[in-house]
Symmetry: C2
Subunit: 286 residues, 2 copies
């Protein structure tokens, strides 16, 4: 049931995002945006739609927020992959945006995808709380959230000592955690409800997701992952695996997934798909 | 009176923007953001505050929008100056952000300044129409606005033929015009009033501003401008001066400034400072 639901979201969120991109002026910029927005697990869109469903908000209402979080995520990947940043040439099994369209276009496509994300959050379908959604997205993605985490990641590459567990957890909380939290809390924000249970769920889920990513970087298959693996070990970077060991990392991820599931208790049966997502993030192969 | 008012805005908008940046986590990213947000004419902030004043909205209400438009403008300059884009090493008389902080930090500081701009537009002080302000900022700065113009500019550099007047006007409408229009319309947006007169004012003002920029690129003094000049001529790029001649460009700018002033007729005396701004943009030396 979870896999089917995620596949559904992959299609519907991708369609909503591509439709928003298709409303921009034609040209290479739009082509690069559309290219950057292809593929991906759409886990963040799933979290938006499923957290919205907890509060009785349907897809027609929540979809612009799901498309927004995927636009924001796509922008972050385009900029992270740039030569001056992680310098990656492969993403989701395809050449990265700057490899295919050039660096200037990649910078601008990322910039425009960020803008699009905020524009999507103003869609009237989202209802009276959408300005709070914009504020939450700004908090999650800016200098106190995702970009902060990315900055810590860059600093770590030139640091004299590898990061310790506290530092790497802080890095993750920004780099991937903040946007996952935004996505999981989006339903509560749009409903004007208490965000605390979903915030606790998302904190555990986001960290479990990152630990699983570090495990995949060691054990994963490049074809399934669609990106270069083993980069962290080659670069001598600290990861949850290097700090906890492979077994320790697996145990910690399982513990966090259980913690994420437990945080959903207030929602009872309704949250079953979100619970399945917590099990999925530690079991996935890409 | 206009010069005194602009100087006031330079101080108050700069203070508001720097205060918002100071609320971000300490570190090199924040330092780079603060550095990028220094200096400048603050014409856009002025337009926000003065258009708001037309509708009886005071600085306490409109200032977050003024800081937002300056944050957005600062982000656009940081990214425009990058090696992969215009590759400028001097801006407002200082080393550009990537020269001072490195390219990765410059990309991230620009990204975070864009995010900050949207975050500022959600400030409750802006009142019930702030979600429309967010939507307008997304429209002005994204793939149909500023970034679109920047993309046309990059394409022009490798085009076989120099641009004609229609193409260069379209480029300007995006690259500098869209954000100037946003700024000038902000007051009407926040007041829930008709945007048409300010839109007409801003269209003429923005074009006059760009023509004056092209004139300054030929006749200006680098010390006063705080950036490299004569770049367009050296690069063989079409400008309003290359297409209209120096006298023709001056005449067109004066015509547009008069048009901008005339568009403010519905607001009578109250719009005098905005009229003075139209005279200023064609008379400035930087």
């Amino acid at each position: 049931m979870f896999a089917a639901r995620l596949a559904e979201v992959q299609d519907s969120a991708a369609a909503a995002l591509q439709a928003a991109i298709a409303r921009q002026p034609a040209g290479e910029l739009r082509d690069a945006m559309a290219y950057a927005a292809q593929g991906g697990k759409r886990l963040r869109a799933f979290l938006v739609l499923e957290s919205a469903a907890l509060f009785g908000l349907g897809e027609a209402q929540a979809m612009p927020a799901a498309a927004a979080v995927e636009a924001l995520h796509a922008y972050s990947l385009v900029h992270d992959d740039l030569p001056a940043m992680d310098d990656d040439d492969l993403r989701r099994g395809q050449p990265t945006v700057h490899v295919k369209f050039g660096e200037a276009t990649a910078i601008l496509a990322g910039d425009a995808l960020q803008t699009l994300a905020f524009g999507l959050c103003t869609d009237a379908a989202l209802g009276p709380h959408r300005v709070e959604l914009v504020a939450a997205l700004a908090q999650a993605s800016g200098a106190a959230g995702m970009v902060y985490g990315q900055m810590l990641d860059i600093a770590a590459e030139t640091a004299a000592e590898p990061l310790d567990l506290a530092a790497i957890t802080r890095l993750q909380a920004g780099k991937t955690g903040a946007l996952i939290s935004f996505a999981a809390e989006a339903g509560a924000i749009l409903a004007g409800a208490d965000r605390a249970p979903l915030a606790a769920y998302a904190r555990a889920l986001g960290l479990a997701f990152q630990i699983a990513d570090d495990i995949l970087d060691v054990t994963g298959d490049e074809a399934a992952a669609g990106k270069r693996l083993h980069k962290d070990a080659e670069a001598g970077k600290a990861t949850f695996v290097s700090l906890l060991g492979l077994d320790g990392a697996r145990a910690r991820a399982a513990e966090l997934a259980a913690e994420a599931e437990a945080a959903l208790a207030p929602y009872g049966e309704k949250a079953e798909t979100l619970r399945a997502a917590a099990r999925y993030v530690i079991a996935r192969d890409n």
